[in-house]
Amino acid sequence: MAERLIEVKDLKVQFATEDGLVKAVDSVSFELARGQVLGIVGESGSGKSVTAMTLLGLTRDTNTRFEGEVLYKGRDVLKMNEGELQDVRGNEMSMIFQDPMTSLNPVYTIGAQISEAIQIHERADKHVAKQRSVELLKQVGIPNAESRVDNYPHEFSGGMRQRAMIAMALACNPDVLIADEPTTALDVTIQAQIIELIDRLKDEFNSAVILITHDLGVVADVADEIVVMYAGRVVERADTRKLFYDPQHPYTWGLLGSIPRLDGPKQERLHSIKGTPPSLINAPAGCKFRPRCPHAFDKCMEEPRLENRVEEPGHLDRCWLTVDQKRSLRVPTLAGTEEAA
């Protein structure tokens, strides 16, 4: 069993705002082992980005409250002081963000920004750091790396910028790479390139990857395990194949059914989940998905626990329906023949 790098136990992140207490992350647990790719899937408001940023302590603020544990190699990130966090960030755990145009500082060259991480964490001198930057740019597939290292972010195309960000994140050989919606702002063809790159680099750098996205198609090919989040909670967690072929939560069915597929006859109507995600301040009682779930019944007024209900251990879900019920109820949703909202 590979070394467990990250263990998130019952994490809660709450923001105190004028309108009330926003429970952005409400009891989330998962693990990440070396060499593993974990996909965290959820839509806006699911808490996936807040979870990711909390792993690096980036959500700390006077208005934020934390509960639970976030263990990185046994040390609790939530309890680290600023200095310890700085040692971890960019060095042992790195993060890349959604929009590469705004995520890079426009007034410094790409090379300078990559070198900065190397100089700070490895105390390298300028020239050594620059050499490394060129090497890294080559590794992520940027042509003419020697000259492009002195270009500014606005001189790169969207796909190249994202590659440069990945290079910057990998500069200090981190154990964990967290990619927060790395392809959402990119064209489908560039998206394919970036996913392929992440897949390759995972092997070359022996890093573990947390890939956050709202698109299940993106993780189908690269993730080993997937966590589905909704309204700040984990609603399903399983090995990738199990999630796609034996999904246990109605929200997962909804997500799968909403994707227009190329591998099959054209659907008459796309499945869509009716309604909108709930408020994180005044969440509905019981199961958070209940208002939008076509299969809700009376027991759903009581919050389901995240448990293993299927034969396969390690496949957890948060739904009271029996496994048999789930397997029959989900058929029309997944096939897109269900009467949609």
Binding site: E43, S44, Q191, V218, D221, P260, L262, D263, R269
Partner: protein
């Protein structure tokens, strides 16, 4: 989306439209180059139909969309709407046209004025075109309901809505004057997956209810499949393949289309593993100096010498499926003998004598069907 074309006259004709943007440098700001955003595009749209216009960023699809609704004036060529050439019309003459042609924009956060209330945003087109006040409010509330929002939202501001809801507001605004043609510029790209499907279903319903004709611009072939009757694939300002929707997915002819299809993620791990992913290397080249011959040749895995030298014409492979390629995929010998170069749709610069040679060397891997 089933669209029936009524009548023989197309609703919209785009004839050899070019849109170039000048690049100026130097003391006298002379034009030193041009961005060939749209470089000789021809197609026609029948009433009630949906054309999907697909391509990567920078291929000119948005520019083409804006040129069609006359947010931009074409550099050359003509746009003919309901038999009338609208390419060179001035603003005043264009105004009545705006009732018939509308646009939905991509970014629901940027395309709504944050200082105006929703009622005002949707109502402004009505005001401009002379509806009086009492009728306006009623119509706006009608529209809000049509797009699935509550009429009580009349007085709210955009920031009080989610992305999907804002996009609905944009749709309501576009529909205010009962247009005949709606150009939707990547209307779902910025939305979450489950909201995307809501929006696509909504657009589908609206088309049937209001007899709309859509030009649906997108970069994702998966999304476009669901809504389109026909699909046009653009690359660096040119049309490289035009086809009835299903045919494109079953037998893509141009290698670029093949690659685009291959890039669409499949939410099925085994299939995703099995299929051969064609990952195009590099970025789309600059539209300032497009490559010679077939513009796709630097990234094409079937490329040969002729591809570098001669621009292929658009060839009609039967049943309305056109493609511009020297080594077409999924085409058998028989069809190859019978093809004709499409005179009207072939770009002016394409060498009409450049007939497609032989079926592609490597047979395209079709998308595996789920068992």
């Amino acid at each position: 989306m089933s669209g029936r074309g009524n009548g023989s006259e197309p609703l919209l004709e785009v004839n050899h439209v070019k849109k170039y943007f000048p690049i100026r440098k130097g003391l006298l700001q002379r034009e030193v180059g041009r961005v060939h955003a749209v470089d000789d595009v021809t197609f026609a749209v029948r009433a009630g139909e949906t054309i999907g216009l697909v391509g990567e960023s920078g291929c000119g699809k948005s520019t083409l969309g804006r040129t069609i609704v006359r947010l931009l004036e074409p550099t050359e060529g003509s746009v003919i709407f309901e038999g009338r050439d609208i390419s060179k019309l001035r603003t005043r003459s264009l105004r009545p046209l705006r009732r018939d042609m509308q646009m939905i924009f991509q970014d629901p956060y940027a395309s709504l004025n944050p200082r105006k209330r929703v009622g005002s945003i949707i109502g402004t087109p009505l005001k401009i075109h002379g509806y009086d006040k009492s009728k306006r409010r009623q119509r706006v509330q009608e529209l809000l309901e049509t797009v699935g929002l509550s009429p009580e939202h009349y007085n709210r501001f955009p920031h009080e809505f989610s992305g999907g809801q804002r996009q609905r507001i944009g749709v309501a605004r576009a529909l205010a004057l009962n247009p005949k043609l709606v150009v939707a510029d990547e209307p779902v790209s910025a939305l979450d997956v489950s909201i995307q499907s809501q929006m696509l279903n909504l657009l589908d319903d609206l088309q049937k209810e209001l007899s709309l004709t859509y030009i649906f611009i997108a970069h994702d072939l998966g999304v476009v499949r669901h809504v389109s009757d026909r699909i046009a694939v653009m690359y660096l300002g040119k049309l490289v393949e035009v086809s009835p929707a299903e045919d494109l997915y079953q037998r893509p002819i141009m290698p670029y289309t093949e690659a685009l299809l291959s890039a669409v993620p499949i939410p099925d791990p085994d299939l995703a593993h099995k299929r051969e992913r064609i990952v195009l290397q590099g970025d789309v080249p600059s539209p300032i100096n497009p490559p010679s011959g077939c513009r796709f040749h630097p990234r094409c895995r079937y490329m040969t010498d002729i591809c570098k030298e001669v621009e292929p014409p658009l060839v009609d492979y039967g049943r309305g499926h056109l493609a511009a390629c020297h080594h077409p995929l999924n085409v058998d010998r028989e069809t190859l003998e019978q093809v004709r170069v499409s005179k009207s749709q072939t770009p002016g610069s394409a060498d009409e004598a450049a007939r497609p040679q032989e079926p592609g060397k490597v047979e395209a891997k079709p998308i595996p069907r789920s068992g």
